[in-house]
Amino acid sequence: MRAIAFVKSILDPEAPPGAIRFDAGKALGDVPQVLGPYEGNALELAVQIAEASQGEFRAVALGGPEQEAGLRKALALGAAQAMRVDVPSGFHDPLDTARQLKAAADALGGADVYLFGRQAGDWDQGVTAGLFAGLAGLPLVPLVQAAEVAGAGLKVRREIAGGYEEGEIAVPCVLSASNGPGTLLRLPKVKDVMLANRKPIELRAGAQSGAGFRVSDLKASVTSRAGRRIEGDLKAQAEGLAQELRRAIPGIGGGA
């Protein structure tokens, strides 16, 4: 099977509050660029599907040079090819993104399985996989937690309310990956990371449509609570906490 994983890199989502500033429609800060965690889940599925079917996978990202983080990771995990659709960094209209990713995938010869993360941690759009499937006229399996090759298709497990659902799907199809038992991204070997740094990343000129969504304002949201600390040694902290819990939850720990 042939798979394509779309691997978006984002400013480290675990950066402490205040490390990312929002100014003139842009997110700025001295924060490392990392592969998005759900895109990491998609990449893991691509590796598994390629391995199990003795096929191959490719990696595609859209954006500026900051997108190298995820593409290099994909190369280190065995991607046959990495391609960056070159557009300016920052916000990009979601429909246009899906269109350009589709054009890039077609230029790579298409695939049996197209893998996206369920949501990237920068603009939190969570719509690219669906838009891509809609444009391509392919079935979309949302929130995939595990997938394995089954005959000519895939057996997938996807999140549903209160649990999960399993079943089979024919290819070609689009999967949006979530975190679950079968999608935790493996670590590449140090040697492969070094080799990946020397591999080329193909550039594909992005089209600038100018249509669609545009950012007209971006500002930090402020939510904070007036936190009070329970001080003292462990015993005093435990008693203070127990008291606080009793106050907040009537009827607990009523003294045995």
């Binding site: 989502p13 675990e14 509050p17 990312i20 965690p37 916000f91 979601p94 429909l95 899906a98 949501q119 941690g121 920068d122 603009w123 939190d124 759009q125 969570g126 719509v127 891509f132 499937a133 809609g134 391509a136 006229g137 079935p139 979309l140 399996v141 949302p142 929130l143 937690q145 999140e159 309310a161 209160g162 999960y164 659902e165 399993e166 079943g167 089979e168 799907i169 975190n179 679950g180 038992p181 669609g212 969504f213 950012v215 007209s216 971006l218 500002k219 930090a220 949201s221 609570r225 009070r228 600390r229 329970i230 462990l234 902290q237 435990a238 127990a242 720990g253 009523g254 003294g255 045995a256």
Partner: protein
């Protein structure tokens, strides 16, 4: 004049909010598309309602919902289509948008039409920011639950369309209920654990806390990734959005993506050994302590009354 439509399934609170928003934006001309579960139940139908009835959609099958949505909106979709953000948008929103060549957005708080252009406000950067987008002349929008009021809606019998229900998305499908059985949505008390617990065994100690407090057990994404908790226990922007009376966060750093899911809680209590952990800025009460050391003392203190 922009054509405004709402696509809803059933008549829960989020459906009523979206129907109300569609009417506020599009007036009497707002179009309503209803997906009903058989047997067709009571529903609020605002404006010119079209409906299809799906048999046995307890698990909200994406392929069946998409086909129903496409049959409902037909060849002339409205410019703006509003859908409650949640399972329905997850299953069909963006794919429907792609199939009619429209952009899409979700987690949309406010929606306005100014000079014939759509203006939307949505969350970004895991809740660290809010972005206002000029969304042009049309889009499919997932409307955040609770962001709009549900108004009294005029009742009208919908026009029920003939609909050939396709096969479900997955063949040989089997639905499995989560073994943890936690009902975070309804719980008054939630005890959530994160990576800081360090082991599956330490995470299990929270079960005892939850039992003592009569609460349910939640988790951060990191605890799910470690395999200590199941995905349906995840609280956050891509997990459950919860608003209990008491939320107790143990060994959770307080990443904005986690906070987005629990900031509506009435009282937030955090235990973390790092006094600079961001969770403390989002908590009413904080305890700087190592959980492993605190737990035996807390158990004693709770039992001692």
């Amino acid at each position: 004049m922009m054509r405004v439509g709402a696509l809803v399934r059933g008549d829960d609170q989020s459906a009523l909010e979206v129907l109300s928003l569609a009417r506020a934006l599009g007036g009497d001309a707002a179009e309503t598309y209803l997906i009903l579960a058989a047997p067709a139940a009571q529903h609020a139908a605002a404006g010119a309602a079209r409906a299809v009835v799906l048999e046995g959609i307890a698990d909200a099958d994406p392929a069946q919902l998409l086909a129903a949505a496409q049959a409902l909106i037909g060849a002339a979709p409205p410019d703006v289509l509003l859908i409650p953000d949640g399972p329905l948008f997850e299953a069909v929103g963006a794919q429907l948008a792609g199939s009619i060549d429209r952009p899409a957005a979700r987690d949309v708080g406010s929606v306005a039409i100014e000079d014939g252009r759509l203006q939307i406000v949505k969350g970004a950067f895991g809740g660290k920011a809010e972005v206002t987008l000029d969304a042009g002349e049309g889009a499919v929008l997932g409307v955040r639950q609770g962001a709009h009021q549900a108004d009294e809606l005029p009742q009208a019998a919908p026009q029920v369309l003939e609909f050939a229900q396709p096969a479900p998305l997955l063949s040989g499908r089997r639905a499995v209920r989560d073994a943890s059985g936690e009902d975070l949505g309804r719980a008054k008390v939630i005890v959530s654990g994160g990576r800081g617990l360090g082991s599956a065994e330490a995470y299990r100690s929270l079960r005892e806390v939850a039992n003592l407090l009569g609460g349910a057990l939640g988790a951060s994404r990191a605890a799910v990734d470690e395999g200590w908790a199941s995905p349906s226990q995840q609280v956050g922007i891509t997990g459950q959005k919860v608003a209990p009376e008491v939320y107790l966060a143990i060994g959770i750093s307080g990443a904005s993506q986690h906070l987005s899911g629990m900031s509506g809680s009435k009282v937030v209590i955090a235990v973390n050994r790092d006094d600079k952990a961001p969770i403390f800025a989002a908590a009413d009460v904080g305890v700087v302590a190592d959980w492993q050391a605190l737990w035996p003392e807390l158990r004693r203190a709770l039992a001692g009354g």
